[in-house]
């Protein structure tokens, strides 16, 4: 018996936010690109795991991607940030370089091969961090002009006070950067965390329309959010199936 194709996945042109890399603008992809955004302890990684299993059970090939997974930049950046060695513009560019490496060496090849690429955060987190640190939004928007436009972006919207509880359940201490401690918002770390997460959430609201980000109520239990998320992804895939 021979297993033969009766359907082929349609190739489609990619969409970018800007025009940074003419040599990539000709690329054609088959896969789908899904992004999950949200603060630390919002349940992102659990949700991505669950979604990955579900999609694989449905027969899709899934590839996981995310920020800070590239091989271009060493762990030294965390230490340098902590010691205030690097300026904010330098940090932004470092992260942009790291992200570009991810995009070109992992995300795009995955999409070309027909994978569903699930990204744990994307440029929106980077842009929001930059904006709350006083970097012009127009500059960041241009900087990430080489970024591929995802098919669908979800943002886990969690109330900062609820978030604090989840962080403490997980770690028993607040992360320096996730608390925006470099911004000097408050002497009190908890207050700083709540203020910083509030600023980040506001920035995400601001970006929602421009970048087509879909907000998900992240204050619910993870399994409840997971069902909601899977339903939305299923609906998207059904409405936009790429098989002919």
């Amino acid at each position: 018996m021979t297993l033969q194709s009766t359907k082929i996945k349609k190739m489609r042109k990619v969409n970018f936010y800007g025009h940074a890399i003419p040599y990539l603008e000709q690329v054609e992809i088959k896969g789908k690109f899904i992004v999950i955004e949200g603060p630390d302890a919002s349940g992102r990684s659990t949700l991505i795991e669950l979604l990955t299993s579900k999609l694989e059970a449905d027969g899709h090939a899934v590839m996981n991607a995310g920020l800070r997974r590239s091989e271009l930049i060493g762990e030294g950046i965390l230490e340098a940030k902590r010691n205030f060695v690097l300026g904010k513009r330098t940090i932004s560019l470092f992260y942009a370089a790291d992200f570009a490496d991810q995009l070109e060496n992992k995300i795009i090849p995955g999409l070309r091969a027909g994978y569903i690429v699930l990204s744990d955060r994307y440029i929106y987190t980077l842009m929001a961090r930059e904006a709350v640190r006083g970097i012009s939004r127009a500059w960041s928007h241009n900087l990430y002009g080489f970024a591929l436009r995802p098919d669908i972006v979800f943002y886990l919207d969690v109330n900062p006070t609820e978030l604090v509880h989840r962080v403490f359940k997980k770690n028993s201490n607040l992360d320096y950067y996730e608390s925006g401690a470099d911004l000097g918002l408050s002497e009190n770390m908890l207050e700083s965390f709540i203020k910083y997460q509030g600023l980040m959430a506001k920035e995400f609201k601001r970006m929602q329309k421009r970048y087509g980000i879909k907000s998900i109520n992240g204050n619910r239990p993870v399994n409840e959010i997971s069902i909601d998320l899977q339903k939305r992804v299923d609906k998207y895939l059904l409405d936009n199936h790429s098989l002919d």
Partner: protein
């Protein structure tokens, strides 16, 4: 003295800076570094506060960037962004604070090097310019213009091994590194030539004798200091 950044938004709100920024640009082997070092010595001999910064020289950035660069993994975008990171680090920590403090900052290559190289590598020119729009416009840019054959000969006679990216091997111009280097450099010259017009570079004939070129540079630089005759030794020490 008021300096402008390249940002369109900031033009209404220029940064006031006491120091001066003098830049040299040109391909490798054009003689620019030799000339800049002689300018540095000159300022030092006049007891001026002077600082020299070189392209791609941030130790911190080098330490954080992993071996990816050596493995030939870079694409035009990552290549461009890592150089922008290096520049931003030197800019945020040295160039800008020193200009504010009234230093004469000498830059061996500046954002124009990125414009020229990144555009040759295929990045979008508008994108590259906007990435660097936070940088202040120099008071003076000397562009060392030299025929590509002379520059290539100067480089290859002293240092026969060419590095991968230095030779532009990532552009697939030729399998021979020397031939690739030559083509790459001539494309960069084309970019410099067009920047020379739009950015108002002072063009220096890179085939001149060293002493003659330095005399001309010093006479141009002197014009930047109308109240302070730096050709006489009159600069007071900062603290006394």
């Amino acid at each position: 003295m008021i300096l402008m950044t390249y940002s369109r938004r900031r033009k209404k709100d220029p940064i006031s800076i006491k120091g001066k920024l003098i830049v040299v640009e040109g391909i490798d082997g054009s003689g620019k570094s030799t000339q800049l070092r002689l300018l540095e010595k000159w300022f030092q001999s006049k007891q001026s506060s002077v600082f020299l910064t070189e392209w791609n020289s941030s130790e911190t950035v080098r330490r954080i960037t992993s071996k990816g660069k050596r493995k030939g993994r870079l694409t035009p975008i990552t290549f461009s962004l890592l150089h922008a990171t290096d520049f931003a680090d030197r800019y945020e920590r040295n160039i800008l604070p020193l200009l504010h403090a009234g230093y004469i900052v000498l830059a061996d290559r500046y954002i124009y090097t990125a414009f020229a190289r990144d555009i040759v590598r295929g990045c979008n020119p508008k994108w590259v310019r906007r990435v660097y729009e936070f940088a202040v416009k120099p008071d003076l840019v000397f562009y060392f213009k030299v025929p590509v054959d002379i520059a290539v000969e100067r480089i290859l006679s002293g240092r026969p091994k060419l590095k991968y990216y230095e030779a532009g091997m990532d552009l697939n111009l030729s399998n021979d590194p020397y031939e690739s280097y030559r083509i790459f450099q001539s494309r960069i010259i084309e970019q410099y030539d067009s920047l020379a017009l739009s950015e108002d570079f002072t063009i220096v004939d890179g085939t001149m004798e060293i002493e003659e070129a330095q005399r001309m540079l010093r006479s141009q630089v002197t014009k930047l200091f109308p109240t302070l005759n730096i050709s006489r030794n009159v600069r007071r020490p900062i603290a006394s």
